[in-house]
Amino acid sequence: MQRLVEELKRLPGIGEKTATRLAFYVLRCDHSFAADLAQALLSVKEQSRLCSQCFGLTEQDPCRICADPRRHPEEVCVVEEPADMLALERAQEYRGHYHVLGGALAPLDGIGPEHLRCAELVERVKRGGLSEIIVATNPTAEGEATALYIARLVKPHGVRVTRIARGLPVGGDLEYTDAITLSKSLEGRREM
């Protein structure tokens, strides 16, 4: 019991109290629930990996989006995290491909360009066939700086770079932004 509480406490946003409550809940449930939960936890680790093209989370490589022939591969939307990609997909507005950076520039936390998948983006650009890169990093100071960096990196290769509109609340997170706001900010994107 104590071991389960300790493990649960390692999850983000879970303190001692919540962990204990969850552990008691699992204890009261029948055996099949515990088995299913354990199985789901293991398979998410074993089967999810990164798409070799866009670096989104996927169970097959290339991912469902990169493999979809109806989508436009000449448009690439750059996001910070896989969760942002899912948020944009929920908005059902965007029909191109993605590129997940794996974070944003945060020099004070020791995160510089080489810690993000920037070189991989340049590789994609160099392979050719891209008409537009839409930078959809978060509307935070770090997200804006990352957008500036991407533009500086990509523009010399002659690809159009746009930034999603600033209708998003400053300091916000794409992941938690509603679909309508996201659609609008995509529509209102501007040249960088």
């Binding site: 983000p12 946003g13 520039l105 020099p107 004070l108 020791g110 995160i111 510089g112 360009p113 509307p139 935070t140 100071a141 770090e142 804006e144 700086a145 500036l148 960096y149 500086r152 609340p169 400053v170 300091g171 916000g172 997170d173 938690y176």
Partner: protein, 287 residues
């Protein structure tokens, strides 16, 4: 319990749990402190995008008896500096400013000197692109404010004026100053400093002292700095006659003088410097 209120600059933030943020600020009334902003990721009313790095806000907060973290009630934008995000050069320079302020100060140490210097520097960076002397002025002012005014006029060994020296002098971080060409053989560490670089440092130091930044009294620094007053008035003249080599020397010299007083290494310029293409920085960032 009543809330206290102070102007403050956001130095650092990190997400905490689902919707909270832990924020470290440099405030005018209470120095550096950290607090928790409950619901910060959701409440546009209490924190309307104001808990971002570099934000200059009026902060309502209260101390909590059993916690090192203050409770942050509200942050209202005091002075927007939107152009800090206009170019990578400005962002990098501003990052260096808040990082240095953070690593040079300790929590609950009161005094508004460092706050005023950081505010003035960010205002300056918002007004125009950084030049080769912009951050050096800030670094010198921060040293002055923290009581580490470097001795750049006379030799630390024999007290003879350094200006009388023909050869290079030896700057030693641990001494907080330089040794003349006669005394320098006694020391191994530090760096050799050319007359040009020493002269430049002297000019910058006079400007910092004149602006009243970091002297513990009210000068005309602070909010006037972005109007071309304050120590930045000398910036253009210094930059115009500073060779790229001397600019690098001056940057290294300040690194050396700052190092003994910092907790941890400064990373902003190191990480982003190489990607900046600002010609005034000699192709190597703002250093």
């Amino acid at each position: 319990m009543r809330f206290e209120s102070t102007p403050a600059i956001v130095l650092r933030t990190r997400e905490y749990g689902e919707s909270d943020k832990i924020v470290t600020v440099l405030s005018r009334a209470a120095g550096k402190f950290s607090g928790i902003a409950k619901g910060a990721k959701r409440s546009q009313r209490r924190f309307p995008g104001t808990l971002e790095i570099f934000s200059h806000v009026t902060l309502d907060y209260k101390r909590r008896p059993h916690s090192e973290l203050a409770f942050l009630e509200r942050a209202v934008l005091l002075q927007p500096w939107p152009r800090l995000l206009n170019t990578l050069e400005r962002f990098t320079a501003a990052s260096h400013v808040v990082e240095l302020a953070d690593k040079m100060s300790v929590e609950s140490e009161v005094g508004d000197d460092l706050y005023r210097i950081v505010a003035a520097t960010l205002a300056r960076l918002n007004a125009a692109e950084p030049g080769p002397a912009t951050l050096r002025l800030f670094e010198l002012a921060a040293l002055h404010a923290s009581g580490y005014r470097p001795e750049l006029v006379v030799c630390r060994g024999c007290t003879r004026p350094l200006a009388a020296d023909r050869g290079p002098v030896r700057l030693v971080g641990g001494l907080g100053g330089a040794l003349c060409s006669q005394c320098r053989a006694r020391e191994e560490g530090g760096m050799l400093l050319s007359n040009e670089a020493l002269d430049c440092l002297g000019t910058l130091q006079v400007a910092v002292a004149r602006a009243g930044l970091g002297n513990g009294h009210d000068g005309d620094g602070g909010h006037d700095a972005h109007d071309g007053h304050g120590p930045w008035a000398v910036e253009g003249a210094v930059a115009a006659r500073l060779s790229a080599r001397a600019a690098r020397e001056v940057a290294l010299a300040l690194d050396l003088l700052l190092a003994p007083h910092l907790r941890g290494r400064l990373r902003s310029l190191e990480l982003l410097g190489p990607v900046l293409n600002d010609p005034v920085s000699g192709g190597n960032g703002l250093r």
